[in-house]
Protein backbone atom coordinates (compact mmCIF):
# COMPACT_ATOMS: atom_id res chain seq x y z
CA UNK A 1 0.00 0.00 0.00
CA UNK A 2 2.83 2.36 0.72
CA UNK A 3 4.44 1.84 -2.63
CA UNK A 4 2.08 3.07 -5.29
CA UNK A 5 1.82 0.79 -8.30
CA UNK A 6 3.86 1.56 -11.36
CA UNK A 7 1.08 2.97 -13.57
CA UNK A 8 0.29 5.56 -10.91
CA UNK A 9 3.83 6.89 -10.85
CA UNK A 10 3.97 7.15 -14.61
CA UNK A 11 0.54 8.67 -14.69
CA UNK A 12 1.45 11.19 -12.06
CA UNK A 13 4.50 12.23 -14.02
CA UNK A 14 2.33 12.68 -17.07
CA UNK A 15 -0.13 14.79 -15.13
CA UNK A 16 2.69 16.90 -13.70
CA UNK A 17 4.15 17.39 -17.17
CA UNK A 18 0.80 18.48 -18.55
CA UNK A 19 0.29 20.87 -15.65
CA UNK A 20 3.71 22.43 -16.20
CA UNK A 21 3.36 22.81 -19.93
CA UNK A 22 -0.08 24.37 -19.67
CA UNK A 23 1.05 26.73 -16.94
CA UNK A 24 4.10 27.77 -18.89
CA UNK A 25 2.09 28.58 -22.00
CA UNK A 26 -0.38 30.54 -19.92
CA UNK A 27 2.49 32.37 -18.29
CA UNK A 28 4.17 33.61 -21.43
CA UNK A 29 1.17 34.23 -23.60
CA UNK A 30 -1.32 35.56 -21.06
CA UNK A 31 0.12 36.47 -17.68
CA UNK A 32 3.24 38.21 -18.94
CA UNK A 33 1.22 40.44 -21.21
CA UNK A 34 -1.04 41.78 -18.49
CA UNK A 35 -0.25 45.46 -17.97
CA UNK A 36 -0.38 45.22 -14.19
CA UNK A 37 0.72 48.20 -12.13
CA UNK A 38 4.41 48.11 -11.36
CA UNK A 39 5.24 46.08 -14.45
CA UNK A 40 5.35 42.84 -12.49
CA UNK A 41 3.38 39.75 -13.34
CA UNK A 42 2.48 36.78 -11.15
CA UNK A 43 4.74 33.79 -11.64
CA UNK A 44 2.27 31.03 -12.42
CA UNK A 45 4.97 28.45 -13.09
CA UNK A 46 6.43 28.96 -9.65
CA UNK A 47 2.97 28.52 -8.15
CA UNK A 48 2.42 25.33 -10.11
CA UNK A 49 5.75 23.94 -8.94
CA UNK A 50 4.88 24.80 -5.33
CA UNK A 51 1.51 23.11 -5.67
CA UNK A 52 2.97 19.99 -7.25
CA UNK A 53 5.58 19.80 -4.51
CA UNK A 54 2.95 20.15 -1.83
CA UNK A 55 0.88 17.38 -3.36
CA UNK A 56 3.56 14.91 -4.28
CA UNK A 57 6.53 15.49 -2.04
CA UNK A 58 10.03 16.78 -2.44
CA UNK A 59 11.29 14.32 -5.05
CA UNK A 60 8.54 15.10 -7.50
CA UNK A 61 8.71 18.78 -6.60
CA UNK A 62 12.41 18.87 -7.26
CA UNK A 63 12.27 17.09 -10.62
CA UNK A 64 9.18 18.96 -11.73
CA UNK A 65 10.74 22.25 -10.64
CA UNK A 66 13.90 21.55 -12.53
CA UNK A 67 12.13 20.58 -15.72
CA UNK A 68 9.70 23.49 -15.47
CA UNK A 69 12.59 25.87 -14.93
CA UNK A 70 14.48 24.45 -17.86
CA UNK A 71 11.41 24.88 -20.01
CA UNK A 72 11.01 28.46 -18.77
CA UNK A 73 14.64 29.07 -19.68
CA UNK A 74 14.25 27.94 -23.26
CA UNK A 75 10.72 29.06 -24.15
CA UNK A 76 11.06 31.69 -26.89
CA UNK A 77 11.00 35.15 -25.35
CA UNK A 78 13.43 34.11 -22.61
CA UNK A 79 16.69 36.03 -22.87
CA UNK A 80 18.55 35.22 -19.69
CA UNK A 81 21.29 32.76 -18.89
CA UNK A 82 20.06 29.25 -19.42
CA UNK A 83 19.45 27.34 -16.21
CA UNK A 84 18.63 30.14 -13.85
CA UNK A 85 15.00 29.26 -13.53
CA UNK A 86 15.87 25.57 -13.48
CA UNK A 87 18.03 26.18 -10.43
CA UNK A 88 15.49 28.37 -8.66
CA UNK A 89 12.46 26.21 -9.30
CA UNK A 90 14.34 23.06 -8.41
CA UNK A 91 15.25 24.56 -5.04
CA UNK A 92 11.74 25.81 -4.43
CA UNK A 93 10.26 22.46 -5.39
CA UNK A 94 12.55 20.65 -3.02
CA UNK A 95 11.89 23.02 -0.10
CA UNK A 96 8.13 23.02 -0.55
CA UNK A 97 8.12 19.25 -0.86
CA UNK A 98 10.10 18.96 2.34
CA UNK A 99 7.73 21.35 4.05
CA UNK A 100 4.73 19.35 2.88
CA UNK A 101 5.79 16.32 4.94
CA UNK A 102 5.73 18.51 8.02
CA UNK A 103 2.38 20.00 7.38
CA UNK A 104 -0.93 18.54 8.39
CA UNK A 105 -4.31 19.04 6.90
CA UNK A 106 -4.73 22.69 7.71
CA UNK A 107 -5.80 24.52 4.62
CA UNK A 108 -3.87 27.71 5.35
CA UNK A 109 -0.50 26.04 5.08
CA UNK A 110 -0.39 26.01 1.26
CA UNK A 111 -0.77 29.76 1.18
CA UNK A 112 2.09 30.33 3.56
CA UNK A 113 4.12 27.95 1.45
CA UNK A 114 3.19 29.91 -1.65
CA UNK A 115 4.13 33.23 -0.12
CA UNK A 116 7.41 31.88 1.17
CA UNK A 117 8.09 30.17 -2.14
CA UNK A 118 7.37 33.32 -4.12
CA UNK A 119 9.62 35.41 -1.92
CA UNK A 120 12.43 32.88 -2.01
CA UNK A 121 12.03 32.30 -5.74
CA UNK A 122 12.21 35.95 -6.68
CA UNK A 123 15.09 36.68 -4.36
CA UNK A 124 17.12 33.67 -5.46
CA UNK A 125 16.47 34.44 -9.13
CA UNK A 126 17.57 38.04 -8.60
CA UNK A 127 20.58 36.76 -6.66
CA UNK A 128 21.69 34.55 -9.53
CA UNK A 129 21.32 37.55 -11.81
CA UNK A 130 23.50 39.66 -9.56
CA UNK A 131 26.12 36.95 -9.33
CA UNK A 132 26.17 36.66 -13.11
CA UNK A 133 26.37 40.43 -13.51
CA UNK A 134 23.07 40.74 -15.31
CA UNK A 135 22.45 44.48 -15.76
CA UNK A 136 18.71 43.88 -15.45
CA UNK A 137 19.02 42.57 -11.92
CA UNK A 138 20.40 45.70 -10.38
CA UNK A 139 19.45 46.48 -6.84
CA UNK A 140 17.00 49.29 -7.60
CA UNK A 141 14.95 47.09 -9.89
CA UNK A 142 15.01 44.08 -7.62
CA UNK A 143 14.05 45.96 -4.50
CA UNK A 144 11.05 47.52 -6.20
CA UNK A 145 9.98 44.28 -7.82
CA UNK A 146 10.16 41.77 -5.00
CA UNK A 147 7.31 43.03 -2.79
CA UNK A 148 4.96 43.38 -5.75
CA UNK A 149 5.95 40.00 -7.09
CA UNK A 150 5.18 38.33 -3.78
CA UNK A 151 1.89 40.18 -3.54
CA UNK A 152 0.79 39.16 -7.02
CA UNK A 153 1.87 35.58 -6.45
CA UNK A 154 -0.14 35.35 -3.26
CA UNK A 155 -3.16 36.86 -5.00
CA UNK A 156 -2.88 34.42 -7.89
CA UNK A 157 -2.02 31.43 -5.75
CA UNK A 158 -5.51 30.28 -4.75
CA UNK A 159 -6.47 29.81 -8.39
CA UNK A 160 -3.33 28.01 -9.49
CA UNK A 161 -2.96 25.88 -6.37
CA UNK A 162 -6.60 24.98 -6.46
CA UNK A 163 -6.45 24.01 -10.13
CA UNK A 164 -3.36 21.89 -9.65
CA UNK A 165 -4.74 20.17 -6.57
CA UNK A 166 -7.94 19.46 -8.40
CA UNK A 167 -6.27 17.98 -11.45
CA UNK A 168 -3.88 15.79 -9.52
CA UNK A 169 -6.45 14.73 -6.96
CA UNK A 170 -9.04 13.74 -9.49
CA UNK A 171 -6.45 11.75 -11.31
CA UNK A 172 -5.31 10.00 -8.18
CA UNK A 173 -8.79 9.17 -7.05
CA UNK A 174 -9.83 7.56 -10.31
CA UNK A 175 -6.51 5.82 -10.65
CA UNK A 176 -6.68 4.27 -7.22
CA UNK A 177 -10.30 3.37 -7.56
CA UNK A 178 -9.36 1.50 -10.68
CA UNK A 179 -6.31 -0.16 -9.23
CA UNK A 180 -7.65 -1.22 -5.85
CA UNK A 181 -11.07 -0.04 -4.94
CA UNK A 182 -10.72 -0.91 -1.28
CA UNK A 183 -8.13 1.70 -0.45
CA UNK A 184 -10.19 4.75 -1.38
CA UNK A 185 -10.30 6.18 2.15
CA UNK A 186 -6.55 5.91 2.42
CA UNK A 187 -6.13 7.55 -0.95
CA UNK A 188 -8.46 10.32 0.01
CA UNK A 189 -6.70 10.88 3.27
CA UNK A 190 -3.41 10.93 1.51
CA UNK A 191 -4.62 13.35 -1.10
CA UNK A 192 -6.06 15.61 1.57
CA UNK A 193 -3.03 15.44 3.78
CA UNK A 194 -0.91 16.59 0.91
CA UNK A 195 1.58 13.73 0.87
CA UNK A 196 0.50 11.50 -1.92
CA UNK A 197 2.84 8.80 -3.01
CA UNK A 198 6.16 7.93 -1.52
CA UNK A 199 8.09 8.22 -4.69
Amino acid sequence: MLNPPEPTAAGRSAVAAVVIVVTLILQVSVANRLPLPGGVQPDLVLLAVVALALVAGSMTGMVAGFLAGLAADIIPPADHTLGRYALVYCLIGYLCGAASTEMDRQSVVPFFAVAAGALAGTVVYAGTGMILGDPRAEWATVSSMVPLQVLYDVIASPFVVWAVLRVTRRYERTERARVDGLSVPAARYRAMSGRGGNL
Binding site: V28, G39, V40, A126, D134, R136, T141
Partner: protein
Protein backbone atom coordinates in the same frame (compact mmCIF):
# COMPACT_ATOMS: atom_id res chain seq x y z
CA UNK B 1 -101.29 20.47 -31.15
CA UNK B 2 -101.53 23.90 -29.71
CA UNK B 3 -97.97 23.65 -28.69
CA UNK B 4 -96.82 22.75 -32.09
CA UNK B 5 -98.70 25.65 -33.62
CA UNK B 6 -97.08 28.04 -31.16
CA UNK B 7 -93.77 26.54 -31.89
CA UNK B 8 -94.25 26.99 -35.59
CA UNK B 9 -95.26 30.59 -35.08
CA UNK B 10 -92.22 31.32 -32.97
CA UNK B 11 -90.03 29.57 -35.49
CA UNK B 12 -91.55 31.56 -38.28
CA UNK B 13 -91.11 34.84 -36.44
CA UNK B 14 -87.58 34.09 -35.60
CA UNK B 15 -86.77 33.13 -39.12
CA UNK B 16 -88.34 36.27 -40.39
CA UNK B 17 -86.44 38.36 -37.92
CA UNK B 18 -83.27 36.66 -38.94
CA UNK B 19 -83.95 37.17 -42.59
CA UNK B 20 -84.84 40.74 -41.93
CA UNK B 21 -81.63 41.26 -40.06
CA UNK B 22 -79.69 39.64 -42.85
CA UNK B 23 -81.41 41.82 -45.36
CA UNK B 24 -80.98 45.00 -43.39
CA UNK B 25 -77.37 44.32 -42.58
CA UNK B 26 -76.58 43.25 -46.10
CA UNK B 27 -78.26 46.22 -47.65
CA UNK B 28 -76.95 48.62 -45.11
CA UNK B 29 -73.33 47.65 -45.52
CA UNK B 30 -71.09 49.83 -43.41
CA UNK B 31 -73.93 52.15 -42.52
CA UNK B 32 -76.14 49.35 -41.24
CA UNK B 33 -78.37 50.25 -38.29
CA UNK B 34 -77.38 46.97 -36.69
CA UNK B 35 -73.86 48.11 -36.00
CA UNK B 36 -74.85 49.14 -32.51
CA UNK B 37 -75.77 45.60 -31.79
CA UNK B 38 -72.35 44.43 -32.84
CA UNK B 39 -70.70 47.04 -30.62
CA UNK B 40 -72.69 45.71 -27.70
CA UNK B 41 -71.50 42.25 -28.53
CA UNK B 42 -67.92 43.39 -28.68
CA UNK B 43 -68.21 45.20 -25.38
CA UNK B 44 -69.75 42.28 -23.58
CA UNK B 45 -67.94 39.37 -25.06
CA UNK B 46 -64.57 40.86 -25.61
CA UNK B 47 -63.41 40.69 -22.01
CA UNK B 48 -64.89 37.28 -21.57
CA UNK B 49 -63.09 35.96 -24.58
CA UNK B 50 -59.87 37.40 -23.38
CA UNK B 51 -60.30 35.88 -19.97
CA UNK B 52 -61.07 32.51 -21.39
CA UNK B 53 -58.18 32.76 -23.78
CA UNK B 54 -55.81 33.53 -20.98
CA UNK B 55 -57.00 30.40 -19.26
CA UNK B 56 -56.90 28.28 -22.35
CA UNK B 57 -53.67 29.48 -23.89
CA UNK B 58 -51.34 27.95 -21.34
CA UNK B 59 -53.12 24.69 -21.62
CA UNK B 60 -52.96 24.63 -25.37
CA UNK B 61 -49.40 25.87 -25.23
CA UNK B 62 -48.52 23.06 -22.92
CA UNK B 63 -50.12 20.60 -25.23
CA UNK B 64 -48.31 22.13 -28.16
CA UNK B 65 -45.10 22.17 -26.24
CA UNK B 66 -45.43 18.53 -25.34
CA UNK B 67 -46.24 17.52 -28.87
CA UNK B 68 -43.63 19.81 -30.45
CA UNK B 69 -40.99 19.40 -27.78
CA UNK B 70 -38.27 17.71 -29.82
CA UNK B 71 -38.60 20.19 -32.64
CA UNK B 72 -38.55 23.18 -30.33
CA UNK B 73 -35.57 21.85 -28.51
CA UNK B 74 -33.74 21.47 -31.77
CA UNK B 75 -34.78 24.94 -32.79
CA UNK B 76 -33.52 26.43 -29.56
CA UNK B 77 -30.23 24.61 -29.97
CA UNK B 78 -29.91 25.77 -33.51
CA UNK B 79 -30.64 29.36 -32.59
CA UNK B 80 -28.24 29.23 -29.71
CA UNK B 81 -25.48 27.90 -31.90
CA UNK B 82 -26.24 30.46 -34.53
CA UNK B 83 -26.20 33.20 -31.93
CA UNK B 84 -22.87 32.02 -30.64
CA UNK B 85 -21.45 31.90 -34.13
CA UNK B 86 -22.67 35.37 -34.97
CA UNK B 87 -21.34 36.77 -31.75
CA UNK B 88 -18.01 35.11 -32.41
CA UNK B 89 -17.93 36.55 -35.90
CA UNK B 90 -18.79 39.98 -34.63
CA UNK B 91 -16.01 39.84 -32.11
CA UNK B 92 -13.46 38.62 -34.61
CA UNK B 93 -14.60 41.26 -37.04
CA UNK B 94 -14.01 43.92 -34.46
CA UNK B 95 -10.56 42.47 -33.78
CA UNK B 96 -9.86 42.32 -37.50
CA UNK B 97 -10.91 45.90 -37.90
CA UNK B 98 -8.59 46.93 -35.12
CA UNK B 99 -5.75 44.95 -36.62
CA UNK B 100 -6.42 46.28 -40.07
CA UNK B 101 -6.29 49.84 -38.76
CA UNK B 102 -2.98 49.11 -37.06
CA UNK B 103 -1.57 47.56 -40.21
CA UNK B 104 -2.71 50.51 -42.22
CA UNK B 105 -0.89 52.92 -39.96
CA UNK B 106 2.14 50.66 -39.95
CA UNK B 107 2.25 50.66 -43.73
CA UNK B 108 1.91 54.42 -43.66
CA UNK B 109 4.88 54.82 -41.34
CA UNK B 110 6.99 52.33 -43.25
CA UNK B 111 6.10 54.00 -46.52
CA UNK B 112 7.11 57.40 -45.21
CA UNK B 113 10.55 56.15 -44.33
CA UNK B 114 10.94 53.83 -47.29
CA UNK B 115 11.43 50.79 -45.08
CA UNK B 116 10.62 47.36 -46.37
CA UNK B 117 8.75 45.63 -43.60
CA UNK B 118 7.34 42.29 -42.61
CA UNK B 119 4.27 42.57 -40.41
CA UNK B 120 4.12 40.38 -37.35
CA UNK B 121 2.13 39.91 -34.25
CA UNK B 122 3.30 39.70 -30.66
CA UNK B 123 2.41 36.30 -29.25
CA UNK B 124 4.09 36.13 -25.87
CA UNK B 125 6.20 38.11 -23.44
CA UNK B 126 9.17 37.39 -21.25
CA UNK B 127 9.26 36.65 -17.57
CA UNK B 128 11.30 37.93 -14.69
CA UNK B 129 13.43 40.98 -15.30
CA UNK B 130 13.66 40.89 -19.05
CA UNK B 131 11.66 42.94 -21.51
CA UNK B 132 11.36 40.61 -24.43
CA UNK B 133 8.50 39.48 -26.62
CA UNK B 134 8.03 36.75 -29.18
CA UNK B 135 6.65 37.57 -32.61
CA UNK B 136 5.05 35.16 -35.01
CA UNK B 137 7.48 35.43 -37.89
CA UNK B 138 10.82 33.70 -38.00
CA UNK B 139 13.60 32.37 -40.13
CA UNK B 140 11.20 30.87 -42.66
CA UNK B 141 9.87 34.34 -43.39
CA UNK B 142 13.33 35.78 -43.82
CA UNK B 143 13.84 37.31 -40.40
CA UNK B 144 17.43 37.39 -39.22
CA UNK B 145 18.99 38.42 -35.92
CA UNK B 146 19.71 42.13 -35.46
CA UNK B 147 16.86 43.39 -37.53
CA UNK B 148 14.96 46.46 -36.35
CA UNK B 149 11.43 46.02 -35.09
CA UNK B 150 9.04 48.94 -35.28
CA UNK B 151 5.36 49.60 -34.87
CA UNK B 152 3.20 52.27 -36.41
CA UNK B 153 4.18 54.63 -33.61
CA UNK B 154 7.91 54.11 -33.55
CA UNK B 155 10.79 51.94 -32.42
CA UNK B 156 10.00 48.69 -30.62
CA UNK B 157 13.35 46.95 -30.44
CA UNK B 158 15.53 44.53 -32.31
CA UNK B 159 15.46 40.84 -33.11
CA UNK B 160 17.86 38.89 -30.96
CA UNK B 161 17.10 35.26 -31.65
CA UNK B 162 15.31 33.62 -34.55
CA UNK B 163 13.47 30.34 -34.55
CA UNK B 164 11.90 28.67 -37.57
CA UNK B 165 8.50 30.29 -37.06
CA UNK B 166 9.08 32.75 -34.24
CA UNK B 167 11.59 35.38 -33.27
CA UNK B 168 12.55 36.96 -29.97
CA UNK B 169 12.57 40.74 -29.81
CA UNK B 170 14.54 42.68 -27.24
CA UNK B 171 12.43 45.72 -26.45
CA UNK B 172 13.99 49.15 -26.32
CA UNK B 173 12.93 49.41 -22.68
CA UNK B 174 15.08 46.47 -21.63
CA UNK B 175 18.00 47.38 -19.43
CA UNK B 176 20.48 45.75 -21.79
CA UNK B 177 19.23 47.67 -24.80
CA UNK B 178 20.96 50.77 -26.04
CA UNK B 179 20.04 52.57 -29.22
CA UNK B 180 21.97 55.26 -31.03
CA UNK B 181 19.67 58.21 -31.44
CA UNK B 182 19.55 61.71 -32.83
CA UNK B 183 17.59 64.69 -31.60
CA UNK B 184 15.12 66.13 -34.02
CA UNK B 185 16.28 69.45 -35.37
CA UNK B 186 19.57 69.92 -33.58
CA UNK B 187 21.01 66.59 -34.83
CA UNK B 188 22.76 66.01 -31.54
CA UNK B 189 23.47 62.34 -31.07
CA UNK B 190 23.13 60.26 -27.97
CA UNK B 191 22.39 56.80 -26.65
CA UNK B 192 18.93 55.74 -25.52
CA UNK B 193 18.97 53.09 -22.83
CA UNK B 194 16.06 51.11 -21.44
CA UNK B 195 15.14 51.18 -17.80
CA UNK B 196 13.28 47.90 -17.56
CA UNK B 197 9.83 46.53 -16.88
CA UNK B 198 8.18 47.83 -20.04
CA UNK B 199 8.21 51.31 -18.63
CA UNK B 200 5.77 50.52 -15.88
CA UNK B 201 8.22 50.18 -13.06
CA UNK B 202 10.38 53.10 -14.09
CA UNK B 203 11.07 55.74 -11.51
CA UNK B 204 8.99 58.65 -12.62
CA UNK B 205 7.36 56.73 -15.42
CA UNK B 206 9.86 57.35 -18.20
CA UNK B 207 11.09 54.00 -19.43
CA UNK B 208 13.95 55.34 -21.55
CA UNK B 209 17.03 57.35 -20.65
CA UNK B 210 19.01 59.42 -23.12
CA UNK B 211 22.73 59.96 -22.66
CA UNK B 212 23.65 62.95 -24.80
CA UNK B 213 27.24 62.62 -25.90
CA UNK B 214 27.85 66.35 -26.05
CA UNK B 215 27.25 67.68 -22.55
CA UNK B 216 27.02 71.25 -23.79
CA UNK B 217 24.46 70.55 -26.49
CA UNK B 218 21.15 72.38 -26.24
CA UNK B 219 18.26 70.14 -25.33
CA UNK B 220 14.84 70.83 -23.96
CA UNK B 221 11.69 68.95 -23.06
CA UNK B 222 9.45 68.35 -26.04
CA UNK B 223 12.24 67.63 -28.48
CA UNK B 224 11.82 64.37 -30.28
CA UNK B 225 14.23 61.58 -31.03
CA UNK B 226 14.76 59.31 -34.01
CA UNK B 227 17.17 56.42 -34.42
CA UNK B 228 20.57 57.36 -35.71
CA UNK B 229 21.12 54.19 -37.67
CA UNK B 230 23.82 51.69 -36.90
CA UNK B 231 26.85 50.69 -38.88
CA UNK B 232 25.56 48.75 -41.88
CA UNK B 233 21.97 49.47 -40.81
CA UNK B 234 22.12 46.76 -38.21
CA UNK B 235 20.67 46.38 -35.67
CA UNK B 236 18.94 49.73 -36.05
CA UNK B 237 17.92 51.41 -39.28
CA UNK B 238 17.90 55.23 -39.27
CA UNK B 239 14.95 57.54 -38.91
CA UNK B 240 12.54 55.54 -36.75
CA UNK B 241 10.83 57.73 -34.13
CA UNK B 242 11.74 56.84 -30.57
CA UNK B 243 10.08 59.32 -28.25
CA UNK B 244 9.88 62.75 -26.70
CA UNK B 245 12.29 64.25 -24.20
CA UNK B 246 10.30 64.65 -21.01
CA UNK B 247 12.75 66.00 -18.50
CA UNK B 248 16.43 66.72 -18.28
CA UNK B 249 18.72 65.77 -15.47
CA UNK B 250 20.31 69.05 -14.43
CA UNK B 251 22.43 67.71 -11.64
CA UNK B 252 24.80 65.53 -13.61
CA UNK B 253 28.19 67.08 -14.02
CA UNK B 254 29.73 64.24 -15.98
CA UNK B 255 30.93 64.02 -19.50
CA UNK B 256 27.47 63.31 -20.79
CA UNK B 257 24.10 64.78 -20.16
CA UNK B 258 21.13 62.68 -19.15
CA UNK B 259 17.54 63.18 -20.19
CA UNK B 260 14.47 61.02 -19.72
CA UNK B 261 12.45 60.06 -22.76
CA UNK B 262 8.82 59.05 -23.09
CA UNK B 263 8.55 56.60 -25.99
CA UNK B 264 5.96 56.89 -28.74
CA UNK B 265 5.22 53.18 -28.49
CA UNK B 266 3.16 51.84 -25.64
CA UNK B 267 5.22 48.85 -24.66
CA UNK B 268 2.54 47.33 -22.49
CA UNK B 269 0.07 46.83 -25.30
CA UNK B 270 2.17 45.78 -28.26
CA UNK B 271 0.16 43.91 -30.84
CA UNK B 272 0.94 44.45 -34.51
CA UNK B 273 4.61 45.19 -35.13
CA UNK B 274 6.86 45.03 -38.16
CA UNK B 275 10.35 43.73 -38.78
CA UNK B 276 12.35 45.97 -41.07
CA UNK B 277 13.76 43.46 -43.52
CA UNK B 278 15.38 46.01 -45.81
CA UNK B 279 16.64 49.41 -44.71
CA UNK B 280 15.68 52.52 -46.65
CA UNK B 281 17.90 53.57 -49.54
CA UNK B 282 18.25 57.08 -48.16
CA UNK B 283 18.14 58.19 -44.54
CA UNK B 284 14.58 59.43 -43.97
CA UNK B 285 15.82 61.93 -41.37
CA UNK B 286 12.82 63.30 -39.48
CA UNK B 287 10.22 62.36 -42.07
CA UNK B 288 8.65 59.53 -40.10
CA UNK B 289 8.05 61.57 -36.98
CA UNK B 290 4.37 62.12 -36.34
CA UNK B 291 3.05 65.63 -36.96
CA UNK B 292 3.82 67.92 -34.10
CA UNK B 293 1.04 68.04 -31.52
CA UNK B 294 1.50 71.75 -30.92
CA UNK B 295 3.76 74.46 -32.28
CA UNK B 296 6.47 73.70 -29.79
CA UNK B 297 9.45 75.99 -29.82
CA UNK B 298 12.58 74.37 -31.15
CA UNK B 299 14.65 77.50 -31.51
CA UNK B 300 18.08 75.94 -31.43
CA UNK B 301 18.49 75.03 -35.07
CA UNK B 302 15.77 75.03 -37.72
CA UNK B 303 15.23 71.57 -39.14
CA UNK B 304 17.15 72.01 -42.35
CA UNK B 305 18.93 69.15 -44.03
CA UNK B 306 22.51 68.79 -42.93
CA UNK B 307 24.91 70.25 -45.44
CA UNK B 308 26.93 67.09 -45.64
CA UNK B 309 24.00 65.01 -46.81
CA UNK B 310 21.96 66.85 -49.38
CA UNK B 311 19.90 63.87 -50.39
CA UNK B 312 16.46 64.89 -51.48
CA UNK B 313 13.71 63.12 -49.57
CA UNK B 314 12.47 60.02 -51.31
CA UNK B 315 9.29 60.45 -53.35
CA UNK B 316 7.18 58.59 -50.83
CA UNK B 317 8.03 60.88 -47.97
CA UNK B 318 6.63 64.19 -49.00
CA UNK B 319 3.11 63.36 -50.21
CA UNK B 320 2.26 61.10 -47.30
CA UNK B 321 3.57 63.52 -44.77
CA UNK B 322 0.13 64.74 -43.85
CA UNK B 323 -0.88 61.34 -42.60
Amino acid sequence: MKDTRRTRVVLGVLLVVALAMITIDYRGGEESPLRGLRDVGATVFGPVERASASVVRPVSNTVDAVTDAPGERRRADRLERQNQRLRERLRSMRLDQDRSAQLQRLLGSAGMGGYKILAAQVISAGQGFEDTVTIDVGGRSGVKPDMTVMSADGLVGRVTRVGPATATVLLATDQTSSVGSRLEGSKEIGIVQGRGRRGLGGHGGTPLRLQLLNAAAPIQPGQRLVTLGSQGQRPYVPGIPIGVVERIDRSSGGLTRTAYVRPFVRFTSLDVVAVVVAPPKTDPRDAVLPPKPRPVAVPAVPPTPAPSRTTSPSPTTTPSRGN
